[in-house]
Symmetry: C2
Subunit: 146 residues, 2 copies
DNA sequence: TACAATTCCTATCACACTAGTATGCTTTGT
DNA sequence: ACAAAGCATACTAGTGTGATAGGAATTGTA
């Protein structure tokens, strides 16, 4: 169970896509604004595409667009697309002899941790973050400062 | 931000120590009951000792005892002793330009995730788990089954 | 039609960390 | 004396993260 730079970068890029107009945003544009290694971001966007979160537009003036309305993309979906299922990695001892049912009191804790994370990540959508981001951009326009 | 086998093993061992009598439990005993690689467990116990969570008793019939009452050891303390500070690993971009204050709407999410994890891990102590474990042991005695 | 911008695909890599092993020394109860 | 235990240090195989590299396919525009 881990959160890495993949989620961080990927979410930054998606919020940028969601908070702008509907026209495609190129990988290059995104990587420059948020200082994300270009080729690395390409991989992340590919994963997000596979997960059905973005659509791509190929060729000149192409880029990426949300595949669904921002209000219907939870942060959890984004993170799981980029990191794999959360929580799947703890308590790997035969799965069912542990955690929920018998023998092991400690196991329950890990379950509660996973639930808490899922809860936080389910409670916000790209739409929510896009709104926040637009506010922030209004105060400090993207071009100056960063 | 990650939870690994260190926490899993370490917590199992501590719950075992906390749910038994006050006499020292040897590393070997613990490693056998919970199928934890013996030498690996030694390292974890050393870390827990450094963190002031257990005391060690050297020599024959020695082992490890809790350094404080089980009710005063939060699971968070255990996890941080074994994994290092949680959450310290996300949003590594200049720390203050991000997350809480300016520019980056996504950053707030990571803060909320860390808080949620800390919250879960702070809400239980070794005492709580020891109670649960005694109940489980009463149903399925340690010797049979595992 | 040429060209440039873009996505797409596959391979490779340095580095760090996880999980575990190995060896031997020191302490202490019996 | 001896065995049972902790203590200390070093080593290692494997895996994952965070990239980088090179090129092929697609498509708007001059």
């Amino acid at each position: 169970m881990r959160l890495t730079a993949r989620s961080e970068y990927g979410l930054l890029a998606l919020v940028e896509i969601a908070s702008g107009e509907a026209s495609p945003r190129s990988s290059r544009e995104l990587s420059e604004r948020w200082e994300i290694p270009a080729k690395f971001l390409e991989q992340l966007l590919a994963a997000l595409k596979r997960a059905g979160i973005v659509r791509s537009v190929r060729g000149a003036r192409g880029g990426y667009v949300l595949a669904r309305p921002a209000s219907q993309v939870s942060i959890l979906a984004v993170v799981e697309a980029l990191e794999g299922p959360i929580a799947a990695s703890m308590c790997a001892r035969e799965s069912d002899a542990c955690a929920q049912s018998a023998h092991c009191a400690a196991g329950a804790v890990w379950g509660r941790v996973s639930d808490a994370i899922r809860d936080v990540l389910s409670s916000a959508t790209l739409e929510d973050l896009a709104v926040d981001q637009r506010l922030l951009d209004a105060v400090v326009p993207p071009t100056e400062g960063r």
